[in-house]
C-alpha cells in the first residue's frame, strides 16, 4: 500500500519543482540561523539566492561528521531550544556523540515518512508491529514507533533484549510485522527454535530490517527462517533517523529515497565529484523540510548507487542500492557505530595500555561479536593471571561505558598483531556480509 499517494507517486517534474522550492527555503534558513553554514557558504563565496536550480546544489560545500562534532552539542540547531521537542544522539562516539534535535513539526514529518516506510514494507492499519529496535537516544526504536502509530497500526514497544520474553510475546500477541536489525531477527529465530516455537505457527507477514549492513543472502535466510517477506530500511540520525529510504515489498530491489524531503547525491569519496546515476560512490544528503536540524550536503560515508528507473510499485522516487560499505573505517556492531580510533582512545585512557590493538568482528549465532586484541607490554604485564584478567575486564568495561558496545578483550603477545607493510592491520571483519 502507498501511504502518501500524492507525493510518493508524483511525476518527476513536479517533484523537482517542490525540491527546488524547499531547498531554497532551507538554504535561506540555515544561512540566517546557523553560523556554521553561514561561514561555510561565505567561505565558498555563495549566497542562498545564488541557487537557482537543483544542479546549483553541487556548488555548496559539504558537511561532515567532524563538523557536527565540532558544533557539539547544539550549535547546528537552526531553531531556539524553545521549539525543540526531542533530542536524539548518534551511538558510539567517545565522549562526544552527534546530537540532533526535532521540532514538533519535524516529529510529525518523521512519523509520516516512517508511516510511508512501514506501508511500503507491507504494514497497514490493523497490523500489530513487534518493534525490537532499541528505544532511547538511538533513533531506531522511537522512529519506528511514531510511524507505526501514525499508520494506525498497533505497536508493541518491546525494544531490544530479553529475547525469550520476546518469543512469548510473539506467540501470545500475534504480531504481523517485525521491525528489528537483521541480525537480531535471526537471533530471534534461533531462540524461538530453542524454546520450541516455530515461526510457521506465528502470524508474521512482513519484516522491516535495517540499522546495519546486510546481504541478499541474509534476506533469503531471514525469509526462510522467519516465514515472512523481508525489506531493507535505511536511515541515520544525522539526517533524521530510520525512514529516509525504504524498499517496497513489491519490488524488493533497492530503497526508495523520500525525495520530497531529502535530496540524495552520489559523489566520489576521493575527488568529491558528483557521479551520475548507476555509479557507486558515497551517499550525500540534503534535508528539505527539517526545521531543528537541517543538514546540507551531509556526507554519510555509506557507499551505494542511485537508480532512477520506474518501479513496479508505482513510486516515482529514486532507489538507492543496498549499502555495500563505507568510505571510512567505521564498523557497525549490532547497530552501534564504532570507529577504530575510538577504541584506541579508550585503550590510551585505560592506564598503562599501549595502543597496539586490532579489532576482529565475527558473526556468531547471527550476532556480531567484537574482539579487541591488545598487545601486552612490559608495563602491563604481571606474573599473576588475575592481574591480567582484571586488565582485560577493565578495558572491556571502559569500551562498554564509552562506546556502548560489548567487546571481548584478548591480550596477545607483542607483535601478535599482523602488520602489513609495517602498518598494523586495525580491523579484521570476518562477517562476510
Amino acid at each position: 500500500m502507498i501511504h502518501d499517494i500524492e507525493y510518493e507517486t508524483m511525476p518527476r517534474e513536479a517533484l523537482e519543482a517542490i525540491q527546488l522550492r524547499r531547498l531554497q527555503n532551507t538554504l535561506a534558513r540555515v544561512y540566517s540561523s546557523v553560523p556554521f553554514y553561514r561561514d561555510a557558504f561565505n567561505a565558498a563565496g555563495i549566497k542562498p539566492s545564488d541557487i537557482k536550480s537543483l544542479s546549483d546544489l553541487s556548488r555548496i560545500p559539504f558537511t561532515t561528521k567532524k563538523d557536527l562534532r565540532d558544533n557539539y552539542p547544539f550549535n547546528m540547531f537552526a531553531v531556539p531550544m524553545d521549539n525543540v521537542v526531542r533530542i536524539h544522539a548518534s551511538s558510539g562516539t567517545t565522549g562526544q556523540p552527534t546530537v540532533v534535535g526535532y521540532t514538533a513539526r519535524d516529529i510529525g514529518t518523521w512519523s509520516n515518512l516512517m508511516a510511508r516506510a512501514l506501508a511500503a514494507g507491507g504494514a497497514g492499519r490493523g497490523d500489530i508491529i513487534h518493534n525490537a529496535y532499541g528505544y532511547g537516544l538511538f533513533t531506531g526504536g522511537l522512529g519506528i514507533h511514531y510511524g507505526a502509530e501514525r499508520l494506525g497500526a498497533s505497536v508493541i514497544p518491546v525494544s531490544g533484549g530479553n529475547t525469550k520474553r520476546q518469543v512469548v510475546i510473539m506467540k501470545d500477541f500475534g504480531p504481523t510485522i517485525l521491525t528489528s536489525t537483521p541480525s537480531y531477527a535471526l537471533h530471534l529465530a534461533e531462540v524461538a527454535e530453542e524454546v520450541g516455537v516455530s515461526f510457521d505457527s506465528l502470524k508474521f507477514k512482513f519484516g522491516v530490517f535495517g540499522a546495519e549492513p546486510w546481504s541478499e543472502k541474509m534476506r533469503e535466510e531471514i525469509e526462510r527462517k522467519l516465514n515472512l517477506i523481508a525489506v531493507d530500511i535505511y536511515g541515520l540520525s544525522e539526517v533524521m533517523g530510520p525512514g529516509i529510504a525504504i524498499e517496497c515489498h513489491e519490488g524488493k530491489k533497492g530503497l526508495h529515497v523520500f525525495e520530497d524531503h531529502f535530496i540524495p547525491e552520489i559523489v566520489d569519496p576521493e575527488t568529491l565529484e558528483l557521479l551520475p546515476y548507476g555509479e557507486k560512490g558515497e551517499l550525500v544528503f540534503t534535508s528539505l523540510t527539517k526545521e531543528a536540524f537541517p543538514v546540507i550536503r551531509y556526507r554519510t560515508r555509506d557507499i551505494t548507487s542511485l537508480n532512477p528507473e520506474p518501479c513496479i510499485c508505482g513510486r516515482t522516487h529514486v532507489r538507492m542500492s543496498r549499502v555495500t560499505g563505507r568510505s571510512d573505517d567505521m564498523l557497525i556492531i549490532r547497530g552501534v557505530n564504532v570507529f577504530p580510533t575510538q577504541i584506541e582512545s579508550v585503550l590510551m585512557e585505560t592506564e598503562e595500555v599501549e595502543p597496539h590493538y586490532q579489532l576482529v568482528v565475527d558473526r556468531e549465532d547471527n550476532l556480531d561479536v567484537l574482539t579487541v586484541k591488545v598487545e601486552v607490554s612490559e608495563r602491563t604485564f604481571t606474573d599473576e593471571v588475575k592481574g591480567l584478567q582484571s586488565l582485560e575486564r577493565r578495558i572491556s568495561k571502559n569500551i562498554k561505558e564509552l562506546l556502548g558496545v560489548s567487546a571481548r578483550v584478548k591480550l596477545v603477545e607483542p607483535k601478535g598483531i599482523d602488520r602489513s607493510q609495517g602498518k598494523a592491520v586495525r580491523v579484521v571483519d570476518n562477517r562476510n556480509i
Binding site: 607490554s377 604485564f381 591480567l388 596477545v412 603477545e413 607483542p414
Partner: protein
Amino acid sequence: MKVEQISVFLENKSGRLSEVTAILAESEVNIRALALADTSDFGVLRLIVDDTENARKALKNNGFTVGKTNVIAVEVPDQPGGLHHILTLFYKADINVEYMYAFVRSSGDNAVMIFRIEKEEEAIRLLEKNGVSVIDGQRLYSI
C-alpha cells in the same frame, strides 16, 4: 633472602612453550624450576633459572614480554604435614599466598617450595622466627 623469578607472557598457541625452551637452551640457561598458569586465551610461564639476566635478555630480544618478580624459596620437611605447617603459619599471620609451586631438586632431606607472596619481608621474618629455613637466591640457583 629473596629469589628472582622471571615470568613470560604466552598466547595459547602450539609451539610457544618450546620456543621459550629453545631460546633458553641456546643461551645456555639452565631451568631450575617452572610453573605455568593458564587461561583459555593466554598463559604465564614462571621460571627460576641459573642466570636470570641472561635469560631475560634472550627472551626479550626474541620478542617475548618478560617480567621479573621476587619469590621466596622455603625448605619444607619431606614428610606428611610438612607443607601444611608452613601454610598454617601464613594463614594465622594473615599472609596471602598468590601462588606456589615445587622446586625440582631437594635440599638435603627437605623439599623446596616456591611461594609468591605480596608481604614477602613479613613472610620471611615469620618463617625464620618459626625455625623454617628460607633459601636465598645464590644458593638456590646452584642446588
